[in-house]
Subunit: 153 residues, 2 copies
């Protein structure tokens, strides 16, 4: 019965729990495969359009009132897609966990594959791009309190 | 020639660069396989003994003067090993990336496999254990400024 119910709902969903009910409590997010987690929903990459395409977001830690000074998000870029080309004061840590893609940091462009990790320091122009045939998925860790990005293109 | 040189050095090492030379610069850590990264060295889990065994640490972000409000570390527990049973004010996020293990959080014990993710809230007693046959590897993200753990056993 349980399996049948799971088939009816989207891959990543809140599961009916109110965020306020689990505010800053310890939590376990079971990976269901394909970078979907029980209790974690799909979200748009950003609320507004602008220079990005074919990318989505799953917030693992940071959307439920957690007190940690950082947020942990998973992003996935479909073939041909890209994040915004942007710059901001806050740092990024990006860890590739699915497929492969390209990270632009300043003047450098590097291919990223499984577990390749980048630290993007303040004010470094950066962008994640997927010129390959399969999806490119990565963890992105940021400060909980951060400035708004300047979108460059 | 390059490959031959790599064979002579340990799996994870600093590569001769002084930490001060790369202070808060953007950086790319290429994954060399088996959860070893170019430019990231093996370290002991903790400087002092006490309640832990068969566990080691690789600091991806946090040991080079980065300004981010968080640190990203990789830990690996060999079969039969465990982290300290401990409690502290700061939060943990743990993401399993290799093998499988068990996380204890308060009274709960859960098996962790690839990409299973836990948020451990302040003052929750916790421990990571590997009762399985292969190595158990996980990312652990913490606040850069954090209190000293109280080791319970």
């Amino acid at each position: 019965m349980k399996k049948k119910r799971d088939e009816k709902v989207s891959c990543c969903e809140i599961g009916g729990r109110k965020a306020s009910a689990v505010r800053n409590r310890s939590a376990f997010y079971r990976h269901k495969g394909e970078m979907c987690w029980r209790g974690v929903r799909d979200e748009p990459y950003k609320p507004e359009a602008g220079g990005w395409s074919r990318i989505m977001r799953r917030v693992l830690v940071g959307g439920r009132g957690e007190s940690a000074k950082f947020h942990v998000r998973y992003f996935e870029i479909a073939p041909g897609g890209n994040s915004s080309l942007e710059r901001h004061r806050h740092e990024h840590v990006v860890i590739c966990v699915k497929g492969k893609g390209v990270v632009r940091m300043g003047k450098s462009k590097k291919q990223m594959e499984f577990m390749d990790t980048v630290y993007i320091s303040p004010d470094t122009v950066h962008q994640l791009v997927n010129p390959f045939e399969g999806p490119f998925g990565f963890l992105c860790i940021v400060n909980a309190k951060r400035d708004r990005p300047e979108v460059l293109g």
